[in-house]
Amino acid sequence: MLRKFILFTLLIGLINACSPQATPTAAALAFTDGLGRQVTLNGPAQRVVSLAPSNTEILFAIGAGKQVIGRDQLSDFPEEAKAVADIGSTFDALNTELIVAQKPDLVLAAEINTPEQVKQLENLGLTVYYLKNPLTLEGMYDNLNVVAQMTGHTQETAKLVESLKARVAAVDEKIAPLSARMNVFYELDGTDPAKPYTAGKGTFITQLIDRAGGHNIAADIEGYPQLSLEQVVAADPAFIILGDARYGITPESIAQRPGWESLSAVKDGHVVPFNDDLVSRPGPRLVDALEELAKLLRPELFQ
């Protein structure tokens, strides 16, 4: 009897799983996402689930915050985003049940999500758009525009992009004439003070430091390398920026690290805590990051 019940349950499931899915009606909007997938929407999305903090920030920045009905656990900016339903972590296992229960008409995935996760959601009949990380500020503006089209906020976004460009131009105007560049070390994770992690070539950190009048001492190394303390000492950065400040790293704790006390940045008091979210989440706050970095490296120009 029991076994029959199990078989029965399985059978029902199989039959249902094989039944055809509803086909979408004529679509008003068609997009190609970062995985090369065709994504179609029947008009602007009204119920959006964001799977990454950067996506959440973009959605709120372009004025689509009210359409966000679910966000991943790490999405904590802006403040209003915290009030949106938490659909769990997107790092390992997606909580697909919660996502489906929100009945989203668009799930906005990002590069922290895997293609497998996209497939998983797609299999559940959801509309998923995979937003690739931009490589430049221009690419970030493009991302804003794509999300704007999907959510019906193109006009506000055009204004936003215009103002972002103006702010970048204002920084460029002050920094570009400078010929000298200051060496900067950006610490991502100094759990092992003899081998701290930093960001290198191809990252926004390197790009923005450069644009803000500095030079990342790891600019020639691809990705997110671990530098040896020897390399840091040899480069003798004029500034040390603490992207790991939120994990309790302070200018004082840096000064206490063996071997670090001889660095110019430590002696001159040029060790500064920094909000890493500004550079690690590729959204409009990258421009905030640029401004903050510029003020930090060249305070005299921003009196």
């Binding site: 769990g88 390992d92 909580n95 049940e97 299999n123 990705g223």
Partner: protein, 333 residues
């Protein structure tokens, strides 16, 4: 009662575990609604999707994986006459992990083949590793178990070192790789679940039939030969079957520890050492334990889901110690 009717009581436990796994999730489905979903009369599209396309395939996949790991774990413990043997002893997991990480470092196109690249790579390298271990351990006309274990440990260490090296090198994929190595059921779909069936049917079927051979092997290779067993062939068949099953499970569910190690021991403590019963009971027990672990993984940190591999050890170890202690106290350990 459970001591006298092992199959009845283990199947009852399985039923409870299946029902729990189907009933409990992040989204609460009222029992009446659940019944309507099962009978196909529910009008809620959301509940139907959650139940039929998320919970049901996941539940079955988890049951399959647990069965595969515990079944092959029991077979390995018998084959190696080693209580510490688990399905990963001779390199399947280390090899599969290496294959998976290698596949992750390549950007596959977003299509069926690209999405299957990681499980396929894991499956192939898992089996390949076992083949290498077996070949190395092969001496003259026989395959001494000590050789197998030592070769397995050495080759596994090498594969793990290579895996760590690759993870260290490619910072971008580390998170995904760690998730995989901790055992997380990604890509849950009917496709993955159904794809496991042929491997499990053949592999676990073979292991169940190998129960008598395993009984004979407990007397040592020489004795078993004298009792008429073709020892080398029996070993070979059991290793192939167990590796096939484990590699298939690992490729879709990542490396889930502990189940393959403890379930056979619990079965042995409760229901004795006859491998003709031990193997099928471990298969059922593995499904039960992993289902319970998966339910816990879903609720402990809700809405976040834990990798099930963490839960199996976290909840499984104390449970196993409890069983062990109780058995000792009753003088039947």
């Amino acid at each position: 009662m459970y001591r006298r009717a092992p199959f009845l009581s283990s199947l009852l436990l399985l039923l409870i575990a299946l029902l729990l796994s189907l009933a409990i999730g992040s989204v609460f489905i009222p029992p009446a609604e659940l019944w309507r979903v099962i009978t196909g009369t529910s009008s809620s599209e959301v509940f139907r999707t959650i139940f039929l396309d998320i919970r049901l395939p996941r539940t079955i996949l988890i049951a399959f994986v647990g069965a595969a790991l515990a079944g092959s774990g029991a077979a390995y413990q018998g084959l190696f006459r080693n209580p510490l043997a688990d399905p990963y002893l001779i390199g399947v997991a280390a090899g599969a992990g290496l294959g998976a990480i290698m596949a992750m470092s390549i950007h596959w196109p977003y299509n069926t083949l690209g999405l299957l690249a990681i499980p396929m790579a894991a499956f192939i390298t898992g089996l390949l590793t076992v083949y290498i271990v077996y070949t190395i351990a092969h001496v003259g006309g026989s395959v001494p178990t000590t050789n197998l274990i030592l070769a397995g440990v050495a080759v596994s260490s090498f594969a793990v070192a290579l895996t760590s090296f690759l993870m260290f090198k490619s910072t971008n994929e580390v998170r995904r790789a760690i998730g995989w190595l901790l055992g997380g059921v990604s890509l849950v779909s009917w496709g993955a679940t159904l794809a496991l069936i042929p491997y499990l049917a053949i592999g676990l079927g073979t292991l169940i039939l190998g129960g008598y051979a395993l009984n004979l092997l407990q007397f040592g290779d020489d004795q078993a030969t004298q009792m008429g067993l073709h020892v080398r062939r029996a070993k070979f068949i059991i290793i192939v079957a167990a590796s096939l099953v484990t590699a298939a499970a690992v490729s879709f569910a990542g490396i889930i520890g502990f189940v393959g190690l403890i379930v056979p021991h619990i079965v042995r403590i409760w229901w004795g050492v006859d491998y003709r019963r031990l193997i099928p009971l471990s298969i059922i027990g593995g499904a039960v334990v992993l289902l319970f672990a998966d339910v816990l993984a879903r609720v402990v940190l809700a809405p976040q889901e834990l990798p099930v591999g963490i839960v199996t050890a976290l909840a499984g170890a104390p449970f196993f110690l409890w069983v062990l202690r109780r058995a000792k106290n009753q003088g039947s350990g």
